[in-house]
Amino acid sequence: MRRMTFLIGLLALSGAVVASEPATARQKELIHLVRQDCGSCHGMQLTGGLGLPLTPEALKDKPFEGLVATVVYGRPGTAMPPWKSIITEQEAEWIVRALVAGFPEDVR
Protein backbone atom coordinates (compact mmCIF):
# COMPACT_ATOMS: atom_id res chain seq x y z
CA MET A 1 0.00 0.00 0.00
CA ARG A 2 2.74 2.34 0.96
CA ARG A 3 4.35 1.52 -2.33
CA MET A 4 1.11 2.32 -4.15
CA THR A 5 0.89 5.71 -2.46
CA PHE A 6 4.45 6.36 -3.47
CA LEU A 7 3.65 5.49 -7.07
CA ILE A 8 0.62 7.75 -7.10
CA GLY A 9 2.77 10.45 -5.61
CA LEU A 10 5.26 9.97 -8.41
CA LEU A 11 2.53 10.09 -11.02
CA ALA A 12 1.20 13.31 -9.54
CA LEU A 13 4.67 14.75 -9.65
CA SER A 14 5.14 13.74 -13.26
CA GLY A 15 2.22 15.96 -14.18
CA ALA A 16 4.02 18.90 -12.71
CA VAL A 17 7.03 20.75 -14.08
CA VAL A 18 9.44 18.62 -12.07
CA ALA A 19 8.45 15.70 -14.26
CA SER A 20 11.02 15.98 -17.01
CA GLU A 21 13.84 17.09 -14.74
CA PRO A 22 16.62 14.55 -15.12
CA ALA A 23 18.38 13.48 -11.93
CA THR A 24 21.12 15.80 -10.71
CA ALA A 25 23.95 13.51 -11.82
CA ARG A 26 22.42 13.19 -15.29
CA GLN A 27 21.94 16.97 -15.46
CA LYS A 28 25.66 17.34 -14.88
CA GLU A 29 26.34 14.93 -17.74
CA LEU A 30 23.94 16.77 -20.02
CA ILE A 31 25.53 20.13 -19.23
CA HIS A 32 28.91 18.64 -20.06
CA LEU A 33 27.53 17.11 -23.26
CA VAL A 34 26.02 20.39 -24.43
CA ARG A 35 29.03 22.56 -23.57
CA GLN A 36 31.64 20.14 -24.91
CA ASP A 37 30.08 18.03 -27.66
CA CYS A 38 27.30 20.26 -28.98
CA GLY A 39 30.04 22.85 -28.48
CA SER A 40 32.12 21.28 -31.30
CA CYS A 41 29.77 23.01 -33.73
CA HIS A 42 27.90 25.55 -31.59
CA GLY A 43 30.90 26.75 -29.55
CA MET A 44 31.57 26.05 -25.89
CA GLN A 45 30.08 29.46 -25.10
CA LEU A 46 27.20 28.46 -27.42
CA THR A 47 27.82 31.55 -29.52
CA GLY A 48 27.79 29.50 -32.72
CA GLY A 49 30.28 28.05 -35.18
CA LEU A 50 29.42 25.72 -38.00
CA GLY A 51 26.11 25.48 -36.10
CA LEU A 52 23.90 28.41 -35.14
CA PRO A 53 24.25 30.25 -31.83
CA LEU A 54 22.24 28.72 -28.96
CA THR A 55 22.16 31.74 -26.68
CA PRO A 56 18.85 32.88 -25.06
CA GLU A 57 18.93 35.89 -27.40
CA ALA A 58 19.26 33.66 -30.50
CA LEU A 59 16.53 31.25 -29.39
CA LYS A 60 13.98 33.64 -27.98
CA ASP A 61 11.61 33.70 -30.96
CA LYS A 62 11.88 30.00 -31.80
CA PRO A 63 9.03 27.64 -30.87
CA PHE A 64 9.88 25.24 -28.02
CA GLU A 65 8.61 22.08 -29.77
CA GLY A 66 10.61 22.86 -32.90
CA LEU A 67 13.80 23.21 -30.90
CA VAL A 68 13.17 19.94 -29.06
CA ALA A 69 12.47 18.17 -32.37
CA THR A 70 15.68 19.56 -33.84
CA VAL A 71 17.68 18.13 -30.94
CA VAL A 72 15.95 14.74 -31.03
CA TYR A 73 15.61 14.20 -34.79
CA GLY A 74 18.26 16.51 -36.22
CA ARG A 75 17.78 18.71 -39.27
CA PRO A 76 18.05 16.90 -42.58
CA GLY A 77 20.02 18.89 -45.13
CA THR A 78 22.13 20.53 -42.44
CA ALA A 79 25.00 19.30 -40.26
CA MET A 80 22.70 18.94 -37.22
CA PRO A 81 22.53 15.21 -36.33
CA PRO A 82 19.71 13.45 -34.47
CA TRP A 83 20.68 12.96 -30.80
CA LYS A 84 17.99 10.39 -30.03
CA SER A 85 20.51 7.59 -29.58
CA ILE A 86 22.20 9.59 -26.83
CA ILE A 87 19.42 11.46 -25.01
CA THR A 88 15.69 11.02 -24.39
CA GLU A 89 13.00 13.43 -25.49
CA GLN A 90 12.53 14.53 -21.88
CA GLU A 91 16.21 15.28 -21.62
CA ALA A 92 16.04 17.27 -24.86
CA GLU A 93 13.17 19.29 -23.38
CA TRP A 94 15.23 19.97 -20.29
CA ILE A 95 18.20 21.06 -22.44
CA VAL A 96 16.08 23.40 -24.55
CA ARG A 97 14.50 24.96 -21.45
CA ALA A 98 17.97 25.47 -19.98
CA LEU A 99 19.29 26.97 -23.22
CA VAL A 100 16.41 29.43 -23.43
CA ALA A 101 16.93 30.44 -19.79
CA GLY A 102 20.71 30.76 -20.12
CA PHE A 103 22.70 27.55 -20.03
CA PRO A 104 24.59 26.56 -16.83
CA GLU A 105 28.38 26.39 -16.84
CA ASP A 106 30.14 23.05 -17.03
CA VAL A 107 31.53 22.38 -13.54
CA ARG A 108 34.74 20.37 -13.66
Partner: protein, 381 residues
Protein backbone atom coordinates in the same frame (compact mmCIF):
# COMPACT_ATOMS: atom_id res chain seq x y z
CA UNK B 1 83.61 54.62 -21.94
CA UNK B 2 85.26 51.27 -21.27
CA UNK B 3 83.54 51.15 -17.89
CA UNK B 4 80.21 51.83 -19.54
CA UNK B 5 80.74 49.01 -22.02
CA UNK B 6 81.60 46.61 -19.24
CA UNK B 7 78.48 47.79 -17.43
CA UNK B 8 76.27 47.16 -20.46
CA UNK B 9 77.86 43.76 -21.05
CA UNK B 10 77.24 42.81 -17.43
CA UNK B 11 73.59 43.84 -17.77
CA UNK B 12 73.20 41.80 -20.94
CA UNK B 13 74.80 38.81 -19.29
CA UNK B 14 72.50 39.22 -16.32
CA UNK B 15 69.56 39.12 -18.74
CA UNK B 16 70.88 35.90 -20.20
CA UNK B 17 71.39 34.39 -16.78
CA UNK B 18 67.67 34.73 -16.07
CA UNK B 19 66.74 32.95 -19.27
CA UNK B 20 69.26 30.45 -20.60
CA UNK B 21 69.60 30.36 -24.37
CA UNK B 22 67.66 27.61 -26.04
CA UNK B 23 66.06 26.73 -29.38
CA UNK B 24 62.37 26.08 -29.96
CA UNK B 25 62.62 22.98 -32.19
CA UNK B 26 61.40 20.67 -29.45
CA UNK B 27 58.75 22.99 -28.04
CA UNK B 28 55.05 23.25 -28.66
CA UNK B 29 51.79 24.39 -27.17
CA UNK B 30 48.71 22.63 -25.84
CA UNK B 31 45.37 24.46 -25.99
CA UNK B 32 43.54 24.46 -22.66
CA UNK B 33 40.20 25.16 -24.23
CA UNK B 34 38.01 25.97 -21.25
CA UNK B 35 40.45 28.42 -19.67
CA UNK B 36 41.54 30.49 -22.68
CA UNK B 37 45.06 29.39 -21.91
CA UNK B 38 47.89 27.53 -23.60
CA UNK B 39 50.56 25.38 -21.99
CA UNK B 40 54.08 25.56 -23.38
CA UNK B 41 55.54 22.07 -23.56
CA UNK B 42 58.99 20.58 -24.09
CA UNK B 43 58.95 17.33 -26.08
CA UNK B 44 62.50 16.35 -25.10
CA UNK B 45 62.03 16.68 -21.34
CA UNK B 46 58.32 15.78 -21.72
CA UNK B 47 57.27 18.54 -19.36
CA UNK B 48 55.04 21.58 -19.18
CA UNK B 49 57.30 24.64 -19.09
CA UNK B 50 54.61 27.18 -18.29
CA UNK B 51 51.26 28.69 -19.19
CA UNK B 52 50.10 31.71 -21.12
CA UNK B 53 46.60 32.98 -20.30
CA UNK B 54 44.26 35.60 -21.72
CA UNK B 55 43.61 34.13 -25.17
CA UNK B 56 39.81 34.32 -25.02
CA UNK B 57 37.39 31.58 -26.13
CA UNK B 58 39.51 28.65 -27.30
CA UNK B 59 36.66 26.14 -27.61
CA UNK B 60 37.78 25.67 -31.20
CA UNK B 61 41.35 26.80 -31.62
CA UNK B 62 44.14 26.18 -34.05
CA UNK B 63 47.71 27.35 -34.31
CA UNK B 64 50.39 28.07 -36.89
CA UNK B 65 54.02 28.95 -36.20
CA UNK B 66 56.37 31.66 -37.38
CA UNK B 67 59.14 30.28 -39.54
CA UNK B 68 61.70 30.82 -36.78
CA UNK B 69 59.62 28.63 -34.52
CA UNK B 70 59.46 31.27 -31.81
CA UNK B 71 55.94 32.59 -32.18
CA UNK B 72 52.65 30.72 -32.21
CA UNK B 73 49.63 32.36 -33.82
CA UNK B 74 46.56 31.11 -32.01
CA UNK B 75 43.15 31.52 -33.67
CA UNK B 76 40.30 31.43 -31.15
CA UNK B 77 36.60 30.78 -31.57
CA UNK B 78 35.70 34.34 -30.58
CA UNK B 79 37.73 35.84 -33.43
CA UNK B 80 40.77 36.55 -31.29
CA UNK B 81 44.15 36.20 -33.02
CA UNK B 82 47.00 36.01 -30.53
CA UNK B 83 50.71 36.02 -31.31
CA UNK B 84 52.37 34.14 -28.49
CA UNK B 85 56.07 34.32 -27.73
CA UNK B 86 56.92 30.74 -26.81
CA UNK B 87 60.40 31.51 -25.51
CA UNK B 88 59.35 34.30 -23.20
CA UNK B 89 56.00 32.65 -22.48
CA UNK B 90 53.98 35.79 -22.96
CA UNK B 91 51.52 37.35 -25.41
CA UNK B 92 53.38 39.44 -27.95
CA UNK B 93 50.33 40.85 -29.75
CA UNK B 94 46.62 40.21 -29.82
CA UNK B 95 43.77 41.46 -32.02
CA UNK B 96 40.05 40.72 -32.18
CA UNK B 97 39.60 40.22 -35.89
CA UNK B 98 36.13 38.67 -36.32
CA UNK B 99 33.01 37.61 -34.45
CA UNK B 100 33.46 33.89 -34.93
CA UNK B 101 36.57 32.25 -36.24
CA UNK B 102 37.76 28.75 -37.03
CA UNK B 103 41.47 28.85 -37.79
CA UNK B 104 44.19 30.23 -39.97
CA UNK B 105 47.32 29.70 -41.99
CA UNK B 106 50.70 31.31 -42.61
CA UNK B 107 52.22 32.18 -45.99
CA UNK B 108 55.12 30.35 -47.60
CA UNK B 109 57.50 33.20 -46.73
CA UNK B 110 56.11 33.60 -43.23
CA UNK B 111 55.20 37.25 -43.72
CA UNK B 112 51.41 36.91 -43.84
CA UNK B 113 49.02 35.33 -41.39
CA UNK B 114 45.53 34.66 -42.73
CA UNK B 115 42.46 33.99 -40.60
CA UNK B 116 39.39 32.09 -41.79
CA UNK B 117 36.10 33.23 -40.34
CA UNK B 118 32.51 32.15 -39.97
CA UNK B 119 31.16 35.54 -38.89
CA UNK B 120 31.51 37.63 -40.90
CA UNK B 121 32.33 34.97 -43.46
CA UNK B 122 35.63 35.48 -45.22
CA UNK B 123 39.39 35.58 -44.80
CA UNK B 124 41.50 38.37 -43.34
CA UNK B 125 45.15 38.98 -44.09
CA UNK B 126 47.56 40.24 -41.42
CA UNK B 127 51.18 41.26 -41.29
CA UNK B 128 52.74 38.38 -39.36
CA UNK B 129 55.04 40.67 -37.43
CA UNK B 130 52.67 43.43 -36.36
CA UNK B 131 49.22 41.80 -36.85
CA UNK B 132 48.25 44.88 -38.87
CA UNK B 133 45.21 44.11 -41.07
CA UNK B 134 46.31 44.31 -44.71
CA UNK B 135 43.23 43.16 -46.60
CA UNK B 136 40.20 40.90 -46.52
CA UNK B 137 38.15 38.76 -48.86
CA UNK B 138 34.47 38.58 -47.89
CA UNK B 139 32.75 35.34 -48.91
CA UNK B 140 29.14 35.56 -47.66
CA UNK B 141 29.71 32.04 -46.43
CA UNK B 142 31.43 30.23 -43.60
CA UNK B 143 35.03 29.53 -44.56
CA UNK B 144 36.56 26.13 -43.84
CA UNK B 145 39.80 24.34 -44.65
CA UNK B 146 42.10 27.31 -45.22
CA UNK B 147 45.52 26.10 -46.38
CA UNK B 148 48.70 27.80 -47.56
CA UNK B 149 49.92 27.06 -51.08
CA UNK B 150 53.18 28.04 -52.70
CA UNK B 151 53.63 31.55 -54.01
CA UNK B 152 51.68 33.44 -51.33
CA UNK B 153 48.46 31.74 -52.35
CA UNK B 154 45.81 30.34 -50.03
CA UNK B 155 43.07 27.82 -50.78
CA UNK B 156 39.86 27.51 -48.79
CA UNK B 157 36.34 26.17 -49.12
CA UNK B 158 32.95 27.77 -48.58
CA UNK B 159 30.52 25.64 -46.56
CA UNK B 160 27.40 27.52 -47.62
CA UNK B 161 28.36 28.10 -51.26
CA UNK B 162 29.98 24.78 -52.13
CA UNK B 163 33.02 26.37 -53.72
CA UNK B 164 36.80 26.31 -53.45
CA UNK B 165 38.47 29.70 -53.64
CA UNK B 166 42.16 30.36 -54.23
CA UNK B 167 43.41 33.80 -53.26
CA UNK B 168 46.74 35.14 -54.46
CA UNK B 169 48.35 37.53 -51.98
CA UNK B 170 51.45 38.42 -53.94
CA UNK B 171 50.28 41.96 -53.27
CA UNK B 172 48.82 41.44 -49.80
CA UNK B 173 46.80 44.64 -50.01
CA UNK B 174 45.22 43.64 -53.33
CA UNK B 175 44.04 40.01 -53.16
CA UNK B 176 43.20 38.22 -56.42
CA UNK B 177 40.72 35.37 -56.10
CA UNK B 178 39.77 32.45 -58.38
CA UNK B 179 36.60 30.45 -57.65
CA UNK B 180 35.84 26.79 -58.41
CA UNK B 181 32.60 24.83 -57.91
CA UNK B 182 33.30 22.00 -55.44
CA UNK B 183 30.17 20.22 -54.19
CA UNK B 184 27.66 20.26 -51.35
CA UNK B 185 28.76 21.62 -47.97
CA UNK B 186 32.53 21.29 -47.84
CA UNK B 187 33.39 20.86 -44.14
CA UNK B 188 37.19 21.02 -44.14
CA UNK B 189 40.14 20.98 -46.50
CA UNK B 190 43.78 20.08 -46.78
CA UNK B 191 46.72 20.53 -49.07
CA UNK B 192 49.20 17.77 -49.92
CA UNK B 193 52.70 18.24 -48.43
CA UNK B 194 54.08 19.37 -51.80
CA UNK B 195 51.46 22.11 -51.95
CA UNK B 196 50.04 20.78 -55.21
CA UNK B 197 46.63 19.26 -54.52
CA UNK B 198 43.91 20.91 -52.45
CA UNK B 199 41.08 18.72 -51.24
CA UNK B 200 37.79 19.65 -49.64
CA UNK B 201 35.77 16.97 -47.85
CA UNK B 202 32.05 17.19 -48.57
CA UNK B 203 29.37 16.80 -45.93
CA UNK B 204 26.31 17.25 -48.14
CA UNK B 205 27.26 14.42 -50.50
CA UNK B 206 29.62 11.45 -50.63
CA UNK B 207 32.94 12.47 -52.04
CA UNK B 208 35.88 14.81 -51.92
CA UNK B 209 36.54 17.79 -54.19
CA UNK B 210 40.08 17.83 -55.58
CA UNK B 211 41.82 20.81 -57.14
CA UNK B 212 45.19 20.39 -58.85
CA UNK B 213 46.73 23.80 -58.17
CA UNK B 214 49.30 23.18 -60.89
CA UNK B 215 46.39 22.94 -63.32
CA UNK B 216 43.79 25.23 -61.82
CA UNK B 217 42.26 25.82 -65.25
CA UNK B 218 40.92 22.25 -65.11
CA UNK B 219 38.84 23.16 -62.06
CA UNK B 220 37.94 20.96 -59.10
CA UNK B 221 36.82 17.40 -59.70
CA UNK B 222 35.18 14.90 -57.43
CA UNK B 223 36.93 11.82 -56.12
CA UNK B 224 35.62 8.99 -53.93
CA UNK B 225 32.16 9.71 -55.22
CA UNK B 226 29.43 7.58 -53.72
CA UNK B 227 31.71 5.90 -51.19
CA UNK B 228 28.60 5.51 -49.03
CA UNK B 229 26.78 3.91 -52.00
CA UNK B 230 23.57 5.64 -51.08
CA UNK B 231 23.46 4.04 -47.62
CA UNK B 232 22.18 6.34 -44.95
CA UNK B 233 25.09 7.70 -43.01
CA UNK B 234 25.29 7.55 -39.24
CA UNK B 235 24.57 10.71 -37.26
CA UNK B 236 27.75 12.80 -37.38
CA UNK B 237 28.33 14.16 -33.88
CA UNK B 238 31.59 15.77 -34.87
CA UNK B 239 32.99 16.83 -38.22
CA UNK B 240 36.24 15.13 -39.23
CA UNK B 241 39.33 17.33 -39.44
CA UNK B 242 41.29 16.96 -42.63
CA UNK B 243 44.35 18.99 -41.75
CA UNK B 244 47.02 16.44 -41.09
CA UNK B 245 47.36 14.75 -44.43
CA UNK B 246 47.96 11.05 -43.95
CA UNK B 247 49.97 9.74 -46.83
CA UNK B 248 52.12 6.66 -46.79
CA UNK B 249 53.90 5.60 -49.92
CA UNK B 250 51.43 6.13 -52.73
CA UNK B 251 48.37 5.71 -50.53
CA UNK B 252 46.40 8.45 -48.84
CA UNK B 253 44.21 7.79 -45.80
CA UNK B 254 41.05 9.81 -45.34
CA UNK B 255 38.18 9.78 -42.83
CA UNK B 256 34.83 8.54 -44.19
CA UNK B 257 32.08 10.83 -42.96
CA UNK B 258 29.16 9.17 -41.17
CA UNK B 259 30.85 5.76 -41.38
CA UNK B 260 33.16 3.72 -39.16
CA UNK B 261 35.77 3.59 -41.88
CA UNK B 262 39.05 5.02 -43.09
CA UNK B 263 39.22 5.32 -46.87
CA UNK B 264 42.44 4.51 -48.68
CA UNK B 265 43.10 6.23 -51.99
CA UNK B 266 45.77 5.65 -54.61
CA UNK B 267 47.47 9.01 -55.07
CA UNK B 268 48.39 8.37 -58.70
CA UNK B 269 44.80 8.04 -59.95
CA UNK B 270 42.75 9.12 -56.89
CA UNK B 271 40.78 5.86 -56.89
CA UNK B 272 39.71 4.10 -53.73
CA UNK B 273 41.89 1.05 -53.16
CA UNK B 274 40.63 -0.13 -49.82
CA UNK B 275 38.58 0.79 -46.80
CA UNK B 276 39.52 -0.10 -43.27
CA UNK B 277 36.92 -0.70 -40.56
CA UNK B 278 37.60 1.19 -37.36
CA UNK B 279 36.03 1.71 -33.90
CA UNK B 280 33.97 4.78 -34.71
CA UNK B 281 33.69 7.77 -37.00
CA UNK B 282 37.22 9.07 -37.58
CA UNK B 283 38.01 12.69 -36.69
CA UNK B 284 41.77 12.88 -37.22
CA UNK B 285 43.52 10.40 -39.52
CA UNK B 286 47.21 11.21 -39.18
CA UNK B 287 50.30 9.51 -40.53
CA UNK B 288 53.38 9.18 -38.38
CA UNK B 289 56.04 11.28 -40.14
CA UNK B 290 57.65 8.19 -41.68
CA UNK B 291 54.28 7.02 -43.03
CA UNK B 292 54.51 3.51 -41.57
CA UNK B 293 51.61 4.10 -39.17
CA UNK B 294 48.34 5.98 -39.36
CA UNK B 295 46.73 7.01 -36.07
CA UNK B 296 42.99 7.58 -35.86
CA UNK B 297 40.81 9.15 -33.18
CA UNK B 298 37.02 9.23 -33.15
CA UNK B 299 33.92 11.36 -32.78
CA UNK B 300 31.66 11.26 -29.73
CA UNK B 301 30.60 8.77 -28.34
CA UNK B 302 33.64 6.67 -29.37
CA UNK B 303 36.14 9.36 -28.44
CA UNK B 304 37.85 7.32 -25.74
CA UNK B 305 39.52 5.11 -28.36
CA UNK B 306 42.52 5.54 -30.58
CA UNK B 307 43.50 3.05 -33.26
CA UNK B 308 46.70 2.53 -35.17
CA UNK B 309 46.79 1.26 -38.76
CA UNK B 310 49.93 -0.43 -40.03
CA UNK B 311 50.24 0.87 -43.58
CA UNK B 312 52.17 -2.14 -44.83
CA UNK B 313 49.55 -4.57 -43.59
CA UNK B 314 46.67 -2.20 -44.30
CA UNK B 315 44.93 -3.12 -41.07
CA UNK B 316 44.42 -1.96 -37.51
CA UNK B 317 47.26 -3.31 -35.37
CA UNK B 318 46.66 -1.51 -32.11
CA UNK B 319 43.65 -0.25 -30.16
CA UNK B 320 44.32 2.07 -27.24
CA UNK B 321 42.25 3.76 -24.55
CA UNK B 322 44.44 6.70 -23.61
CA UNK B 323 41.73 8.58 -21.69
CA UNK B 324 38.32 10.23 -21.82
CA UNK B 325 37.51 12.35 -24.88
CA UNK B 326 40.68 12.15 -26.97
CA UNK B 327 40.51 15.33 -29.05
CA UNK B 328 43.85 15.52 -30.79
CA UNK B 329 47.16 13.82 -31.53
CA UNK B 330 50.51 15.31 -32.44
CA UNK B 331 53.68 13.48 -33.39
CA UNK B 332 57.10 14.61 -32.26
CA UNK B 333 59.02 15.96 -35.28
CA UNK B 334 60.37 12.57 -36.34
CA UNK B 335 57.53 10.51 -34.93
CA UNK B 336 59.09 8.42 -32.16
CA UNK B 337 56.39 9.67 -29.79
CA UNK B 338 52.83 10.86 -30.11
CA UNK B 339 51.11 13.23 -27.70
CA UNK B 340 47.39 12.72 -27.09
CA UNK B 341 45.00 15.11 -25.35
CA UNK B 342 42.29 13.66 -23.10
CA UNK B 343 39.85 16.52 -22.59
CA UNK B 344 37.71 14.98 -19.85
CA UNK B 345 40.64 13.49 -17.92
CA UNK B 346 42.50 16.81 -18.02
CA UNK B 347 45.65 15.07 -19.14
CA UNK B 348 48.03 14.83 -22.07
CA UNK B 349 49.61 11.42 -22.55
CA UNK B 350 52.82 10.68 -24.38
CA UNK B 351 53.09 7.30 -26.12
CA UNK B 352 56.01 5.54 -27.73
CA UNK B 353 54.85 4.80 -31.28
CA UNK B 354 57.02 1.70 -31.56
CA UNK B 355 56.07 -0.09 -28.35
CA UNK B 356 52.68 1.63 -27.77
CA UNK B 357 53.70 2.11 -24.13
CA UNK B 358 52.57 5.21 -22.30
CA UNK B 359 55.71 7.10 -21.32
CA UNK B 360 54.21 9.84 -19.22
CA UNK B 361 51.03 11.72 -18.41
CA UNK B 362 51.01 15.48 -17.98
CA UNK B 363 48.28 17.59 -16.37
CA UNK B 364 46.36 20.02 -18.63
CA UNK B 365 42.96 21.65 -18.14
CA UNK B 366 40.47 20.45 -20.82
CA UNK B 367 43.24 20.02 -23.39
CA UNK B 368 42.32 20.06 -27.09
CA UNK B 369 44.81 20.88 -29.85
CA UNK B 370 48.48 20.01 -29.48
CA UNK B 371 50.82 21.87 -31.82
CA UNK B 372 54.57 21.42 -32.12
CA UNK B 373 56.90 23.99 -33.71
CA UNK B 374 57.97 21.49 -36.38
CA UNK B 375 54.78 22.57 -38.15
CA UNK B 376 56.56 25.83 -39.00
CA UNK B 377 58.47 24.16 -41.83
CA UNK B 378 55.55 22.24 -43.30
CA UNK B 379 53.19 23.34 -46.06
CA UNK B 380 49.56 23.05 -45.02
CA UNK B 381 50.23 23.29 -41.29
Amino acid sequence: MKALLIGVTTLLLAGCAQQPLRGTGDLGIVIERADGRVAVVDTTARTVLGHIAGLGDLSHASTVFSRDGRYAYVFGRDGGLTKVDILQQRIDKRVMQAGNSIGGAISQDGRLVVAQNYTPGGIKVFDAQTLELLSEVPTQSKVVGLADLTGQRFAYALFDKGEIWVTDLTDPRAPKTQKYPAGLQPYDGLVTPDGRYYMAGLFGEDGIALLDTWHPEAGARKILENYGKGQEKLPVFKMPHLRGWAVAGNQAYLPAIGRHEVLVVDKSNWRETRRISVKGQPVFVMARPDGRQVWVNFAFPDNGWVQVIDTLKGEVVQTLQPGKAILHMEFTPRGEHVWLSARDDHTVSVYDTQTFQRLTTLPAQSPSGIFFTSRAARTGF
